[in-house]
């Protein structure tokens, strides 16, 4: 399982820059919704 996880991380690292920025935006949105549910505020996601 660890091997698979590392392979996945490596494949993410090889993605084009634009695609990685898209993933970053998704991560920011996910983090914001988790914070909202916990009643906390934090930095807004990029537009």
């Amino acid at each position: 399982m660890l091997k698979k996880k590392n392979a996945r991380r490596l494949s993410l690292a090889k993605l084009p820059f634009e695609q990685k920025i898209e993933i970053l935006l998704q991560l920011q949105k996910m983090a914001a919704s988790v914070r909202r549910m916990a009643g906390r505020r934090g930095p807004p996601a990029w537009k």
Partner: protein
């Protein structure tokens, strides 16, 4: 993000900065897997000035006219908190000078090379920087000769050996 790169190129064209390169987490992201970050660190060269103190005021004024406001240590450009950091030591200066050209959606920009990113992370030395060093080593191709030269020049070899030992790499 595309707009930010445009603005950085515009700042350079207008002579408000004489060079720049993307650094920090976004530069790491260029070479390694995406990790959560909220700000965009940009290392800049400021034009020579007669003032003894470096000032970002002309840049802030220029951006203010475009509708971008300062928020704490950042300037909010199209919703992205951008931190312009004047190159503050010889390692950063070298990293900006030797930054590699890259494209973001057809717009040309500059990103600090992984070997310099690694050295900067070692120099900064926070826990998250050490994690980034390990991530870079595992996920991107590092030019060993270039890295050795940078580490020697900036007295970072001992720190490098320490991190390597700790991370078993």
């Amino acid at each position: 993000m595309e707009k930010v790169v445009h603005i950085l190129n515009e700042l350079e064209k207008e002579g408000l900065i004489t060079g720049y390169a993307l650094g920090g987490a976004v530069a790491f992201l260029f070479y390694a897997e995406p990790v959560l970050t909220y700000d965009l660190d940009v290392f800049v060269f400021l034009p020579p000035s007669s003032e003894k103190l470096m000032t970002l005021s002309p840049i802030y004024e220029f951006l203010k006219k475009k509708g971008y406001a300062a928020r704490q240590e950042h300037i909010l450009i199209e919703g992205i908190p951008v931190q312009l950091i004047p190159a503050y030591n010889t390692l950063i200066e070298e990293a900006v000078k030797k930054a590699r050209a890259a494209k973001y959606k057809k717009v040309l920009t500059k990103v600090i090379r992984p070997e310099h990113l690694l050295a900067i992370a070692l120099q900064t030395g926070r826990l998250k920087d050490q994690e980034r060093v390990v991530q870079l080593i595992k996920q991107t191709r590092i030019d060993g000769n270039l890295l050795t030269g940078i580490l020697k020049k900036h007295n970072l070899t001992a720190k490098w050996n320490e991190v390597k030992k700790k991370a078993k790499i």
